[in-house]
């Protein structure tokens, strides 16, 4: 390695012009490349690390909900300066709203605008498609929304519970069907019981007709009691039961009288027999009537069961409504507040500021800048009420401003850096000439970096704006080391020997320095936070070029300088 460096040093000492021609050629190419160099901006997306759940989620939300995606914001602020003037003092002033509406309509016509939302839209929606004409109406509409939300909420919830009631009615109908089946069975039972009564009474009539025995009469009374019990247990209506029991009671009284006036009753026996026959006959009628009545009563019962079920369903629905109302009452007490007020996102609490949100489609940087320019024109040209100040912000607007800062920042920092470095090297060498020579490494290095970036189509972003100044600060070291050592060696040796010693001694340390710097810059990009990765790449290139310039341009110029001394 040392041999190669020494041979190279001798070549530089002998033919510095050849080396300079090669350097000039590369410099010319770099100048051409510089004409292609571009600046670009950075956005929030560029600043945060990728593949992190929390950050991916924010971009997902931006895309899906249009909250934080590519959007610009027009800000309208109350800026009344003079008391008692006719300037607007409240953002809810209809004049302000009208002005915002005009702006919104103009923005909608710009290419790339996905949606525009602001205070006028929400007011129009609540005011049957018209803008409110008075401030009091605006205030009313802005407060109204909460009420609307709550009432619509009541109906929905009530509907939910009512529907639940209807479902229960359906269940009731099913139950009613089952009950109807049970009633039919019961009816059959009643009809059978009546037949038994009829048979028993016929037997009594026959008994009375056939015998005048008093003991038999007593037995008959106990039989009547049994019949009464049977009747009581039957499914007959109360009226019918009363009627039958009335007959039976009459029968019993008759039998009692018969027993008391056994002798006198003999005559009456015939009449009793006749009466019993009539009872039998009327019982037959009652039996058929009873069947018909029972059928009707069953129908009624079915209906009432159905209704009962239905009512219970509705009642549970009402219970639900009651429960809901109860819970809502709780909300009023502060247990739970339902505040759905879209205006909160568009109007500040003190009513001095409102915003128009503009969502944009994905677009190139040039298109975004065109959009911002058009937006600026709209804001400038639209007639505004006195006391209203309009401004724009949001990602595309900030990006444009940042991009505008790139070149001035670069010029400012590079210039300051260059002046500071020049003063230091001149003081260090106590020579203007050597000061300028040592600056050549960074001069050429910076030109080459700029040209290479242009040729490779790499745009310079705001994080790289300070890169040139940093490259100068780092790259000057190479120039200083070479010039310093050459000057020391030149005192003891001729040009060729001095250059040989200089280069062979500074080359390795400079190479290690370059490698170490490259390692540092590369390591910087290895983390997850790679915001300054572009800056690191630019500086890697810069350090490498300054090293090359320090071992080509500076030795050549030093040799030429010595020859012309």
């Amino acid at each position: 390695m040392k041999g190669i460096v020494e041979r190279y040093a001798r070549f530089v000492a002998r033919k510095p012009e050849t080396l300079l021609i090669a350097v000039a050629l590369f410099t010319v190419i770099s100048f051409i490349g510089m004409s292609f160099s571009k600046t670009e901006s950075i956005s929030y997306k560029d600043m945060v690390p990728k593949n992190v759940e929390e950050i991916d989620a924010i971009f997902y939300i931006g895309d899906e909900f249009g909250i934080s995606g590519e959007s610009a914001i027009v800000v309208a602020e109350i800026n009344a300066r003079y008391p008692n003037s006719n300037e607007v003092r409240d953002i809810r002033d209809p004049e302000v709203i009208k002005c915002l509406d005009v702006i919104e309509q103009k923005i909608r016509r710009i290419e790339g605008v996905l949606s525009v939302t602001g205070l006028p839209d929400w007011l129009r929606e609540l005011n049957s498609g018209h803008l409110p004409k008075t401030k009091s109406r605006v205030i009313e509409l802005m407060n109204k929304e909460i009420v609307i939300n709550q009432s619509s909420l009541d109906i929905s919830e009530t509907l939910a519970q009512f529907s639940k009631g209807l479902e229960e009615i359906e269940e009731g109908l099913e139950a009613q069907k089952q009950i109807a089946e049970g009633i039919t069975l019961g009816l059959n039972g009643s009809s059978f019981a009546l037949k038994q009564i009829k048979y028993a009474i016929s037997s009594i009539a026959a008994g009375i007709g056939n015998s005048n025995d008093l003991t038999e009469a007593t037995e008959i009374i106990s039989l009547i009691d049994s019949i009464e019990t049977l009747v009581q247990q039957s499914n007959a209506t109360l009226e019918e039961k009363t009627e039958i029991i009335g007959y039976l009671e009459g029968l019993k009284q008759g039998l009692d009288a018969m027993l008391a006036q056994a002798e006198e009753a003999r005559e009456g026996t015939k009449q009793l027999s006749l009466a019993l026959n009539e009872i039998t006959y009327s019982l037959e009628n009652i039996s058929s009537g009873l069947e018909a009545m029972e059928n009707a009563s069953l129908l009624l019962e079915n209906l009432s069961v159905n209704l009962k079920e239905g009512v219970s369903g509705i009642s549970s629905g009402l219970d639900g409504i009651a429960k809901y109302i109860k819970l809502n009452k709780g909300k009023e007490k502060g247990e739970k507040q339902v505040k759905i007020n879209q205006f909160r996102y568009y109007v500040s609490d003190d009513y001095t500021t409102t915003i128009i949100r503009i969502n944009l489609v994905e677009m190139s940087e040039e298109k975004r800048e065109e959009f911002v320019e058009e937006l600026e024109n709209i804001i400038r040209e639209t007639e505004k009420p006195a006391g209203l100040k309009l401004g724009i912000t949001g990602d595309p607007v900030i990006s444009k401003e940042l991009r505008k800062q790139v070149l001035p920042t670069m010029q400012k920092t590079s210039m300051l850096s260059l002046i500071g470095i020049f003063i230091i090297v001149c003081l260090l060498f106590l020579s203007l000439r050597y000061g300028i020579i040592s600056l050549l490494a960074i001069g050429f290095g910076v030109i080459w970096v700029y040209g290479t970036l242009g040729l490779l189509g790499i745009s310079i972003n705001p994080t790289m704006s300070g890169g040139m100044s940093m490259i100068m600060g780092i790259g000057i070291d190479f120039g200083i080391q070479v010039v310093n050592r050459f000057r020391q060696e030149r005192k003891k040796h001729n040009i060729e020997k001095a250059m040989e010693i200089t280069l062979s001694n500074v080359f390795i340390p400079m190479l290690i320095t370059t490698l170490a710097a490259l390692i540092g810059f590369r390591a910087m990009s290895l983390g997850q936070l790679t915001l300054l990765a572009d800056l690191g790449n630019m500086m890697s290139l810069g350090v490498l070029f300054c090293f090359i310039a320090a071992i080509t341009v500076i030795p050549s110029i030093l040799v030429i300088n010595e020859r012309f001394k």
Binding site: A57, M470, T513, A516, S525, G527
Partner: protein, 388 residues
Amino acid sequence: MKFLTKLAWFQYKYSSLIFIVTMFLTIVVALGIQNIHLQTDISKELPQDLDVIKLQNKISDKFGGADTVMILIKLNKNCELENVPKDIRDPKIIRMLVELENEIKKEPSVSFVQSAGSFFAYPESVPDNIELIKQIFAKMQNGEMFFNKEYSATLMMIYADLGKSEEKINRFVSKIKEYIESIEKPACVEVIITGNPPIRVVLMEMLKHDMVFTMGVAAVIILILLILIKRSFTRGVLVFTPLVFGLTWTLGLMGWFNIPLSVATVGIGAMILGLGTEYGIFLVERYEEEREKGKNQKDALITALPSVGSGIIGSGTTTIVGFLALLLASMPMIQHLGETLALGIFCILFATIVISPALILLEERSIEKVEKLELKFLKKGLKHERNS
């Protein structure tokens, strides 16, 4: 450079004292490392004096944003399980939202929570039938704003007043995460916390990790490179030592001077190591060159330090000027980077000029001592052999 000659003489005479004082100072300065605070608010890295940024900050203050935590609830499209919610308006999900919202509202710093669950007081108030829920949101003014177009995701917005303390933000985000963990989530439903505060918490972790990681990688590679080039472990470490001192002082001073660790300054460890290597290299190379000429320690140092020291000071100062020029940059992140790098280069330059020569001498002397001892033992051994 008379000053450097005097310094070289002093270093030759008091190398041990210099080493002890350096160690003591390093411990004191290093205590500042624990004071380094993290700056995770990326918006603060943008030029604060630009009108558009001022307006943006104003909007964030008035309409929330800075302290807004968002909880994203979305259906997992790749889920293959059966009987899982296919619509984000599923009663189970809405109930979960109500439950979560009611829990989060208990936090004192929370000023306002809004989600699709805000319409229901308790989980039990949510209808069982999804169709009814759909009707409720369809009838409601802006009811659909809580859902995306495909009804596969919904949002919960938590507005809180967290102030500027990173610790408070950290605690708040942990608490919200705990709430999310504690509630019962339907299968195949993802609940992700996001927004400015959670992102800042993630950045905090990343800053700590990246700082150590990038610095570690750079340190290991540079040390290996130095050992290989010097063909000696001790010589490699010797060139590397001022870097360690310089870096420790830089980090300590960042803590003492209240310079934050941010996305802009996270890579400075690696950069300082990369840029600071050259000073040690030039000094050690030159000293060795003089020693190879046959000069003793004192003469070699008195020749090497003034001759190479002026170059090193010159290059270090110019580098510092180059970095300080960044204070004129419009982006605060570049300004912070510039001032921190300037501080780092100054520390390494100081360590190289003041401590490195003392270390070189101490290393040589210790080697000489070891060699002398070895020779002594060897002589003793030979004597012993002859006697026997």
